[in-house]
Amino acid sequence: MSDKRVGVYVCHCGHNIAGTVDVEHVAEWAWGLPNVAVSRDCQFMCASLGQDMIEEDIREHGLTHIVVASCSPHMHEKTFRGACERAGLNPYLFEMANIREHASWVHPHDKDGATDKAKALVSAAVHRVLQQQPLEPLQVDIRPETLVVGGGIAGIQAALEIADAGFPVYLVEREPSIGGHMAQFDKTFPTLDCAACILTPKMFDAGAHPNITLLTYSEVEQVDGYVGNFTVRVRRKARHVDESLCTGCGTCWEKCPKKVIDTVFEAGMGYRTAIYRPFPQAVPKYPVIDTENCTYYQTGKCKICEKFCPTEAIRFDMEDEYVDLEVGNIVLATGYDIFDARRIPQYGYGRLANVFTSLEFERLTNAAGPTEGKVVLRDGVTEPRSVAIIHCVGSRDKNTNEYCSAICCMSSLKFDHLVMEKTGAQVYNFYIDMRPIHKGYEEFYHRILDEGTQFIRGRVAEITDAAHSPEEEGKLIVIAEDTLIGRQRRVPVDMVILAAGLEPRADAQGVAHMFGVGCGDSGFFTERHPKLDPVATMTEGVYIAGACQGPKDIPDSVAQGAAAAARILGVIFRKQVALEPIRASIDESRCSGCRICNTMCPYNAISFIEELSVSRVNPALCKGCGTCVAACPSQIITGAHFTFEQIMAEIDGILVDVHTAPPEHTAVEAV
């Protein structure tokens, strides 16, 4: 052990650590730990000054092992491993002690205790690093194909960017057509561009692109593999229409006698037939048969669509198919669900006819919608003369969702404009705070103020049809405190629009689990870093874009789709990616062939070699989780970088007496 020379670096992280932990004392004390040849403290280890210091010390003082006591390895392990590598030291001879998240941040009121804990953590890291072995990263090839899950605007953007760069993309969409929520909208804020006019060309491009394979009416069922080499099983739900013959002429749905309320695309505001295409600009143009509602599937009779189809494309006997895709990277762009306004009973949605949700209003005001764009009450004819728009429905409320849904202020302003333009009605906006935060948004708010909307600052308490006076008869009465006056107000209106918040998809947890990504408290997918890495996830090769990561509007979704594509293109162009060599390995000479590890492995990385009667780990599939290491009854499986010796040394280190005096040591001049 005597030839080993450890360098210890204690980071102040500005006041983050030094405000609580006595970092100078920790660095002084660390001189007394085994084999420590250099121990220093530094303002910011992650800055170039800190990194240069490590590099120069390795060269000048012949350091063989490095310990940095600073933040979480998630944050800067890569940074410091890089510094070691540049100075010619194997990066796995580096160890990080987390004295920020594990000491200063969690014990802000106990400086002595936090300092003691920091010393123990540094000691653990020093003891451990002495046992660490040099490791070489695994190089794996990257397949050029990409899977994009979700055909909304974020997914379409990601697919087009990658396809335009010349690489193949599979775009999987659950519904019969791509387009997502944006296809349901009428206008887009703040420019009032027609949503269809700017979306349809992109949908068409995605459908016609030689590098994009559209898999609509399809769902991912299984994901295996690792970055660069994923295998994905996709269930292609039976359309019951032969896409090679169908021309999308529309005869089938014109003749179909079965009408069904369309709860998806029309948000329950209109009907579709049992064989249907969700909307005229759908991509692909082929219809699907909804077997749960089709008369033939329920009674065995009808087949009218088949009779009238000019190309004989109807296939009643079609069954679901499975396709296995080999892809290198994955983008999740699965979008959001609208908050169910029934969960706030005092707003009366579902009970009071003329209370609408924002998505219902989008369909109402859409020229291609059920009323051809006429803004009318639930009776289908009466124009409202007064309309209330309620912000923050299912947002900023600990009883439902604590977060702000980010888009509702702006979509409410858009509704103000559309209602006034189409009906001339008086519009009231009930808001808590106005948050028009992006480019051109505040100006749009000013325009709506000019147009005469009344803004009432107060979260609505209740919507009722119980009148207190003759002028309230037959109206919906919106009750709120006008907080700028400090008085209760009862505002009678004909129509109420609830700006319902954005929620994670109902199946987001399951999807997250399948793709190995995390969900935060709010249920949206978790990014690798909230500021510096917003489209990557903790799983290499899996990226997120759009509202599945958190509520966001169209410009932000497009930006994220493009960002995810850029990240993936970078990986594809590198052709190879380095994987952490932290893998399990089996000492085959001592393996009894009991196969317990084979079934325990959550990644199917261990196979049994029949001819040798031993188990073997596929290092490319292994994620180094350690399950097999613990399970092996003969204790002959080793997790690289987490060996028995390393873990025991770490425990020995953390148990040393931290109250010993710092030793005398030879001064090391600053570099």
């Binding site: 900023r396 600990k398 600052r457 308490a461 709120a480 405190e481 006008d482 209760q488």
Partner: protein, 189 residues
Amino acid sequence: MKTSQDLTFHDRVVALTPGGEALEQCLQCGSCGGSCPAGADMDHTPRGLFAMIRAEMEDEVLRSNTPWYCVSCYACTTRCPQQIPITDIMYTLKQMAIQAGHYDHPHATKFSETFIGFVEQRGRSFEAGLATRYHLYHHPTDMVRLGMMGLNMLRRNRLPLRPKSIREVDQLQAILAEAKAIAAKETYR
């Protein structure tokens, strides 16, 4: 630790209310003021009062009629997006106003005192006795109108004439005595 002398008015309201820390989270959205069935009679809505507490307007807050009009229906509390125990804060303010001798209409406290008197004596509220005793003392002229309503309620079996007690009421009284002793020690004024 802060001593009671260091505590601001806001801090004392928070400290005296179970779960009162949530008051710091008030968004000033007005859900409480909009939901309050007695809001029209209050000189400040609960939201307004919370802003005044934050601004340390102790005198104005303790002289406000707002807590005294609170009917403890908990509509505000169930709807508050920040889950602030608003009704409980109203009780705290009533308690502080009584202790400060700040409230200008002494009758307001009498109803509570009469009500609590029955609860202490029997472990239950007794509406017929409460209404009679309260009005005899404070609003004798109103007795005729209320008498008619009482008769109507009697006819519909809505007004039991004989008070009911809980079993072992002496144990409840012991608990209440203990609670009062603790409260006397913990009050910050």
